[in-house]
């Protein structure tokens, strides 16, 4: 299958050209955040304070890695279920967040916000965590070290493999894929 290479921060036009089902290799910086970090970011926004990183053009990876073995960059680091972040996502998208990587379906509200803000939701292969880790070349804790694996990490990735699930036209690969293959 043809693969598209993209670098972060993502350019608007690149994101707008993405279509569901496309395979993309991401390069550059990704920011990790799960439920706890999202909650903390919401508190910062409520207080009118800046976030630990600039959302504009950037990509959040929903992941809580396993601990790093000595001599390695990061532990196993596959995607976690995106649905737990749905409540927070539209607000981040409206502030310039361009992409998210996770696994599992998003709510209609999130899909609508992805379309409105011309952004994208990718999936990485859930459970392929040891493989995915190999494309993570650098990792450092950026904020909330007290959250352990749930802290916000800054990852530098090379050819990080993802698939477009929700594109800026409002498409949803989960729905479309099943429609094609369901024989019931």
């Amino acid at each position: 299958m043809p693969q598209i290479k993209l670098s972060t921060p993502l350019a608007d036009e690149n994101v707008e050209n993405l279509r569901i089902g496309q395979k993309v290799l991401l390069n550059g910086i990704l920011y990790t955040a799960r439920d706890a970090a999202h909650k903390k970011m919401m508190e910062l926004l409520d207080r009118g304070e800046p976030l630990p990183f600039d959302l504009r053009g950037n990509v959040i990876y929903y992941v809580g890695p396993s601990p790093t073995k000595p001599g390695m960059v990061i532990g196993s680091a596959g995607p976690t279920t995106a649905g737990r972040m749905d409540a927070y996502t539209p607000r981040l998208l409206s502030l310039g967040l361009k992409g998210m990587i996770g696994k599992g379906k998003r709510t209609p509200e999130v899909i609508k916000a992805i379309k409105q803000n011309k952004s994208v939701y990718f999936t990485a292969v859930g459970g392929a965590a040891a493989l995915i880790s190999q494309s993570i070349k650098k990792c450092r804790v950026l904020a909330y070290p007290e959250l352990g694996p749930e802290a916000i990490h800054e990852l530098y990735v090379e050819d990080f493999p993802v698939i477009v699930v929700n594109d800026s036209l409002g498409g949803d690969l989960y729905d479309e894929g099943i429609k094609i293959y369901s024989t019931i």
């Binding site: 809580g64 790093t68 532990g75 696994k103 292969v125 459970g127 094609i180 024989t183």
Partner: protein, 294 residues
């Protein structure tokens, strides 16, 4: 170790003794092995379904999963970052004695050790509502059976949250029968969609009481993949369910395809005249379990 005692008739009795420390060491080793080394039965199933899958994306995902298992085994790192709650099954021989500590303490110490030494993620919170991480992945969830003999069989089955969360139980009316069972299994798998990281393994419990049924479903996940039930009508039901599940089109990672499940295993137990409990415990492709006998 074997200890000798005399009974009131003056006969010599021998009692096998296992040190709590040996249990701890074994549990620690199994926690690591279960997370590093995917079972050959699962890899075989990946390879088999790779030939049958028609979705290109689906094929690509299955290839990634095969590669992932190789990398995890070579580097001794967990195949998935969610190294789960440590679910542990003990089959304790009734003639056995454990020395030097409590059985469950020894097991939990093993989990603590295995998750620390194996760089496995600690994913357990102490209170379901207050939710503070216990920091060492304890306590384990332990199921114990007392069996004849003098051995201790330990099975460690780490269970990830993504797939556990998509599991379900329902008390059907007996009149709903086999059709009701099939409908509930399909509904549950369909509702789970991409969340439990398909291709999945589906453990189904039918019968017993509410809690027994859930345990049957969990035990069904321990069976060697695709090995049919020894009960002919249940083996038939497994086949039918497997076909039906794979017609849903969910496919690898829920992105569409033929391979939704690698296997459907069903366990049954007698039940009340008024009941027909059905439990569906979904496991991801990281279906992990390793066992040892002491």
């Amino acid at each position: 170790m074997q200890h000798f005692f005399y009974n009131c008739m003056g006969e010599v009795l021998s009692i096998k003794t296992i040190a709590a420390g040996a249990i701890t060491e074994t549990v620690a080793r199994l926690c690591m092995e279960a997370n590093f080394f995917l079972g050959q039965d699962i890899t075989d199933a990946f390879n088999k379904t790779l030939g049958e899958e028609t979705s290109l994306t689906g094929k690509e995902i299955l290839k990634q999963l095969i590669q992932n298992a190789q990398i995890a085994a070579e580097n001794k790192v967990p195949m998935c970052q969610d190294t789960g709650v440590a679910v542990i099954f003990l089959e304790l021989g009734q003639d056995l004695q454990i020395a030097g500590g409590g059985l469950y303490d020894a097991v939990n110490e093993g989990v603590r050790k295995g998750y620390a030494e194996g760089y496995l993620r600690k994913s357990v919170v102490d209170h379901p509502l207050l939710r503070k991480n216990t920091g060492d992945n304890t306590p384990a969830v332990i199921h114990t059976k007392i069996v004849p003999g003098e051995n201790l069989k330990i099975t460690v089955a780490p269970k990830g949250g993504g797939s556990e969360n998509m599991s379900a139980i329902k008390m059907l009316k007996p009149s709903e029968g086999i059709e009701g069972v099939k409908k509930f299994v399909l509904e549950t798998v369909k509702a789970a969609g991409p969340n439990p990281c398909p291709p999945i393994v589906v453990g189904v419990g039918i019968g017993g009481t509410f809690e027994k049924c859930a345990l049957l479903a969990k035990e069904a996940l321990l069976r060697k993949l695709g090995g049919p039930s020894p009960i002919p009508d249940i083996a038939e039901l497994e086949k039918e369910l497997m076909n039906a599940v794979n017609k849903l089109g969910i496919g690898p990672q829920g992105l569409g395809g033929r391979t939704t499940a690698l296997a459907v295993h069903v366990e049954i137990y007698p039940c009340h005249i008024a009941s027909l409990p059905v439990a569906v415990n979904i496991n991801c492709h990281s279906t992990r379990h390793k066992e040892a006998v002491l």
